[in-house]
């Protein structure tokens, strides 16, 4: 592997990792506030991308309003999902909630497939498609948009959580829901806020990445999974940890192709993410068990 190549793997990994990070942020946010893992998170990424294409290509809306509108529609769907499915399952067990979010995920996917069909589509690039050189490594301008958006959102999210009332309330209900209730925070409303924000994050991710990655009704599953891995690496703790997790995953996947190690070819790229996921979960399991025993 030459230095040039190594750099290229890093850059490709970075842009791919930013995508995972964007998806992972939604998981982290919802989990932190509601202790629910939203299996439908990937579907909001899909919705963002598909909607932006449909609004631009079929409805002929100019780019910027179309992008905003797609995010708004996804947010509304996220809110509906929370209010109809999650909130009405009042005393649902964790397992029921898992199943409900899976149900929501395939429902959204099915409707998207029904409405938009199977074909992958590509919304137009934000700005051109002439590669930009970065110390000899080439990067697509749209990939820069993705990386930039990820950074931007992470910073904004961080500021929001630590510097606004709503953000602080959100954080409080994630750290100690009982105490949050005592000081008058409506934790159920916080659940709604978390879902809405996560839907927005997902949709923003979808909107930004779709021109580069193409999108179709079925991209949600794998993106959701990778995003979840990113969030797991970050421990579902903070936006920044999640972003680091996502980028780490992207870079590892990318380098694995370059390394060509043993029997493992690029065909096992997805397996790498999943093995990382299992390893993390098992380490976590050990820690959880130890915590429970109090030793």
């Amino acid at each position: 592997m030459s230095l040039d190549q190594f750099l290229q793997y890093l850059v490709s990994g970075l842009s791919q990792g930013s995508i995972y990070a964007l998806v992972g942020l939604g998981f982290t946010l919802i989990y932190a506030v509601t202790k629910i893992i939203n299996f439908a998170q990937g579907e909001f990424v899909m919705l963002g991308g598909m909607l932006s294409f449909v609004l631009m290509e079929s409805a002929g809306i100019p780019m910027v309003p179309a992008l905003l509108l797609s995010i708004i529609i996804a947010v509304v769907i996220g809110a509906i999902m929370y209010l109809l499915a999650i909130r009405s399952a009042k005393k649902a067990s964790e397992v029921s909630l898992i199943i409900i979010t899976i149900g929501a995920a395939i429902l959204i996917r099915g409707i998207a497939g029904e409405v938009w069909g199977v074909d992958a589509v590509r919304p137009p690039f934000f700005t051109g498609e002439k590669s930009i050189s970065f110390f000899g490594a080439l990067i697509h301008p749209q990939a820069l948009w993705i990386v930039g958006t990820t950074l931007m959102i992470t910073i904004l999210l961080h500021l929001f959580l630590s510097h606004t009332m709503l953000g602080k309330a959100l954080k409080a209900s994630s750290i100690n829901p009982e105490a949050a209730k005592l000081v008058g925070i409506d934790t159920r409303a916080m659940g709604l806020v978390a879902f809405v924000l996560a839907a927005a994050l997902g949709a923003i991710g979808g909107v930004v990445m779709a021109p580069l990655t193409l999108t179709s009704y079925q991209v949600g599953v794998m993106l959701g999974l990778k995003g979840f891995v990113a969030a797991s690496i970050g421990g579902f703790m903070s936006p920044i940890a999640t972003v680091i997790g996502g980028i780490l995953l992207g870079v590892v996947e990318s380098l694995a192709v370059g390394v060509d190690w043993g029997p493992f070819t690029s065909a096992y790229k997805d397996a790498i993410a999943l093995v990382i996921l299992l390893a993390i979960l098992l380490i976590r399991a050990g820690r959880l068990a130890a915590e429970e025993r109090g030793s």
Binding site: A92, I98, A267, Y268, L281, L282, G286, L288
Partner: protein, 338 residues
Amino acid sequence: MLAKASDKWVWIVAGLLLVLLILIPFKWFLGPYTNLMIFIAIYTMVTLGLCLLMGYSGQVSLGQAAFFGIGAYFSAILSKTYGVNPWLAMLLGATATGAFAYVIGIPIFRLRGNYLAMATLGLGIIIYILFRQLGQYTGGPDGMAGIPYLSVGGFAFNTAFRRYFLIWGFCLASLLVSQRIVNSRTGRALRAIHGSEPAAESVGISVSFYKVKIFVLSAVLSSLAGSLYVHHLRFVSPQSFDFLASVVIVVMAAIGGLASIWGAIFGAAAIRILGDEILPRFENLSLLKSWDLDYLNIIVYGLLLIVVMVFMPQGLFVGMRDAFERWRLKHAQREAVT
């Protein structure tokens, strides 16, 4: 069990159902539905495993199709490529799947809830990737065809009619065995775990041991179902064991009801009949001409999952049963009053 007047009726109806089950594959009755019925039996076995797991450990597995697949590929590869007797292959497959579930179950079942769900999901997808990638053994994404039939002596199960009885035999045996286990010491231990883990521990039940045990049982049932599946289809490809396949099993279990043995048949039958017979009719209805079947299936599954879990977290079957009981109770009380 206490002998009540209703027991006699239950036996009569059970007998009638059995007769119906036996008559179904005959050409003059429901012959064309033989294949459908065979799939119902196979999926009942897989669903049963998940129902036991979800109902008794209170945990969900999103990778159940993997065990189904391991059994299927074990049978397919051993019996076709290596010429092993199919029955032996089936046994080896079930043993290997059980051992695998045991080894993986010990660490994995230290997790619960969301994390366990994700871990099983990841595991399922890894195994699916392996099915696709280990092409020299599995035939890769194209799968393998020409897998031999099961046979006893000179009698080959080479028609759907014959396999119908074989596979339903297996299915009913699994249900019976599960029923017995649930009503035994082991079953009580499992129900105790579902009721309260600390309390179960306090009476001497090893929670982690039983969780792994039920996981192994569910894996073995799925593996057997997988073996029957390949000897029925004589074809296997990774597609049948992907993530959506695992989700469909969850749908069946959710419909059938957690912790309900007989609900498994109900769940498997409802979803198979819906997918194979009912929804395809909608596809060609002029009113809904634009409906695409694939998505329609997914939409219906999604709706079912949400609605059932929101309103009847115990499952549609159990929910209906309990609602019926409540109604009967009210009715009986009213009668007693008047």
